[in-house]
């Protein structure tokens, strides 16, 4: 058979290194995952340590296990900083998993949560709520995450409904999602212009921020995160079959439309849940799954869990930078992610196109 191995297609497509680095790592996937989890844990401990009062990792750990060096450190760690760290971990994981799911079901490595409309939907609903909240409704901030979640899910459903024509087509889904997102974003801008008083309270959230995240945020986020992340990880085999294209997937006995709609809804739920707490953090859902695939190949059973780990680590790491980059100023973490994520993504694109 090697005698015949010189077809034009073979010559064009044969890369220089047949034994790919990816697959070597693939075999050691458990090790990769454990290393990733350890790194994330280290970042999380560092993250709890940064803030107006710096605490060393040792002090953080002692305070966490209930034997603080000084009593007030336990208050700082547990009451003030731990919720922020946990929210960062969960939101990062959710955005990354949403991106990983979308990239596999759209069969497009450039897909990201924004393309489902869920991010801008969450933003528009939240802005509307805050806008009307200013004019005398219930305490709006408390309900913000739930409103955001509802908006994100609603927008995701609208995008899917607009795309549906007997069957959904991944390409059209992406275009429709981007258009709906643009419309929702301009809607949000208009609302903010009309209710200028509301801008102040949501501007940080619009960029994506972890500043001042408290236990109530975590208590809203964690049940949602738990359910959606577990379901997302369980759906990896569906995603794997869908990655082979609609025809092959149908031939393998997958109900293609139901599977894609289910996975799309999961991605929307993941993204909307994260956005409703931490705001419109861009690029994380694009970059984290990309990194995961580069490390471990294309099998969703590995890409999904690794994306979760990488996403959690990236957001926590970026939030450390956001707090220490400029002395005395807390940058919104969304700005840090965008500043680091965009050039990195350009770099990935250039490598890909080369």
């Amino acid at each position: 058979m090697s005698v015949m191995g010189s077809s034009p297609a073979a010559q064009v497509r044969s890369p220089s290194a047949p034994q790919r680095r990816d697959t070597l790592i693939a075999r050691r996937f458990p090790v990769v995952l454990v290393v990733g989890l350890v790194l994330v844990t280290v970042l999380a401990v560092l993250h709890v340590g940064v803030g107006p009062v710096y605490l060393s990792p040792r002090q953080v750990v002692l305070a966490l296990v209930g034997h603080p060096e000084v009593a007030y450190q336990r208050t700082i760690v547990v009451d003030l900083r731990l919720p922020r760290t946990l929210v960062a971990l969960a939101a990062g994981a959710m955005l990354a998993l949403a991106g990983a799911i979308l990239q596999s079901i759209m069969r497009n490595p450039l897909a990201e949560p924004e393309m489902t409309g869920s991010v801008s939907g969450a933003i528009l609903f939240t802005v509307l709520w805050v806008g009307f909240g200013e004019s005398g409704f219930v305490r709006s901030v408390w309900y913000m995450p739930i409103i955001g979640l509802a908006g994100g899910v609603a927008a995701g459903l609208v995008v899917y409904a607009l795309t549906w024509r007997g069957q959904s087509q991944p390409g059209r889904l992406i275009l429709t999602g981007l258009l709906v997102s643009a419309i929702l974003r301009s809607g949000a801008s208009i609302v903010l212009l009309v209710h200028q008083a509301a801008i102040g309270s949501v501007v940080l959230w619009l960029i994506g921020s972890l500043n001042g995240r408290v236990w109530s945020d975590w208590s809203i986020l964690w049940p949602w995160a738990l359910v959606t992340i577990v379901l997302g990880l369980m759906s990896a085999r569906w995603a794997n079959v869908l990655q082979l294209g609609d025809a092959s997937a149908a031939g393998l006995g997958l109900p293609v439309e139901r599977a894609r709609a289910g996975l799309l809804f999961l991605a929307v739920a993941l993204a909307a849940g994260a956005v409703s707490i931490v705001g419109g953090i861009a690029f994380l859902g694009l970059v984290a799954p990309h990194l995961a695939r580069r490390i471990t190949g294309a099998d969703a059973r590995r890409v999904f869990p690794l994306s979760v780990v990488i996403g959690a680590g990236l957001l926590v790491g970026a939030d450390i930078l956001a707090q220490v980059a400029l002395p005395g100023v807390q940058l919104p973490v969304g700005a840090v992610v965008a500043v680091l994520g965009a050039p990195f993504f350009l770099y990935l694109l250039r490598r890909r196109l080369r």
Binding site: R13, R237, G251, G253, G297, A298
Partner: protein, 293 residues
């Protein structure tokens, strides 16, 4: 040799008693356009059937209908005597595998990861692989000669190797029936032969029932034992390659003037086109002329 070829053909073209897959008066198409009208085709257990015809003649459409990927507007497809539309799709996938035309997968996917997907009909979304699954995957890789490539990424393979990997995916499904839509498209002649040889081996050694859409008439005649010719959504010739592949059929359906001669190797008919037939009358006169050059 030649008699052996004829004898092999016979079994596949006799009236369908042991039909495993059957389309009964199927009308099907895309959107508002009907491609097939009242099409009936019955596939015998253990047979190897080639569907041929000009572009847009409905041969791929009937394959999709047989694989329940296209739902008939009228009529029904029966798999082992049961309406395929009423069977759970995963159960169908345990009995019938289809290799679509020019399939594609994420480029970083390895051969083993691709072939593992073939177990989906058996394991579903959550059940873990057991020994039977692993054995099926190993066997599929072995039969297609892909074992040594199992860790390779798909985009590092040649066209023929990649096609064999996709066939391995279908084999991992462990189905008695295999449908293939133009499995040799975009392959050079060596790789085409390699793929067709593998398909024939599966038919002979494992008695897999095989239906394949082929563009190349000579390959269809050589590798199948029954040829079905489609034109404008209807079957216009159906029988052994020798009976079907005639100058008359070629002029009528493909609008080419051709000689048909037995293959020196095994006696299968080979067509040698030499000109265009603009209509039937011309074709006939041209073929008369050509008989005495």
């Amino acid at each position: 040799m030649r008699q052996a070829f004829e004898r092999r053909q016979k079994a596949d073209t006799q009236p369908a008693t042991g039909s495993v897959l059957e389309s009964a008066a199927v009308s099907a198409g895309y959107g508002s356009r009907l491609v097939l009208e009242q099409l009936s085709l019955s596939i015998k257990r253990g047979s190897i059937t080639a569907l041929v015809g000009p572009n847009g003649s409905g041969k791929s459409t009937v394959l999709k209908a047989l694989a329940r990927m296209l739902h008939p507007r009228h009529g029904a497809v029966y798999l082992d005597g049961r309406d395929i539309a009423r069977l759970p799709t995963r159960e169908v996938a345990r009995r019938l595998a289809i290799l679509p035309q020019s399939p594609s997968a994420p480029e970083e996917l390895t051969v083993a990861e691709l072939v593992e997907q073939g177990r989906y009909p058996h394991v579903g979304a959550l059940r873990l692989f057991d020994d039977a699954d692993r054995a099926a995957i190993a066997r599929a890789l072995d039969e297609t000669g892909m074992t040594e490539f199992r860790e390779r990424a798909l985009d590092s393979l040649s066209g023929g190797e990649r096609q064999r990997a996709w066939i391995a995916l279908a084999l991992a499904q462990e189905t008695p029936i295999l449908l293939l839509d133009e499995p040799t498209t975009y392959l050079d002649i060596g790789h085409q032969f390699e793929v067709l040889d593998l398909i024939r081996r599966l038919n002979v050694e494992q008695e897999m029932t095989i239906v394949l859409v082929l563009h190349d008439l000579n390959q269809a005649a050589r590798f199948s034992r029954r040829m079905v010719v489609f034109e404008a959504g209807a079957i216009i010739a159906d029988g052994t390659p020798t009976a079907v592949l005639t100058p008359d059929m070629l002029a009528r359906v493909f609008h080419v003037l051709a000689h048909v001669a037995p293959h020196p190797e095994d006696g299968s008919p080979v067509c040698l086109p030499y000109g265009l037939a603009t209509d039937g009358a011309q074709a006939r006169s041209a073929s008369v002329n050509s008989a005495t050059p």
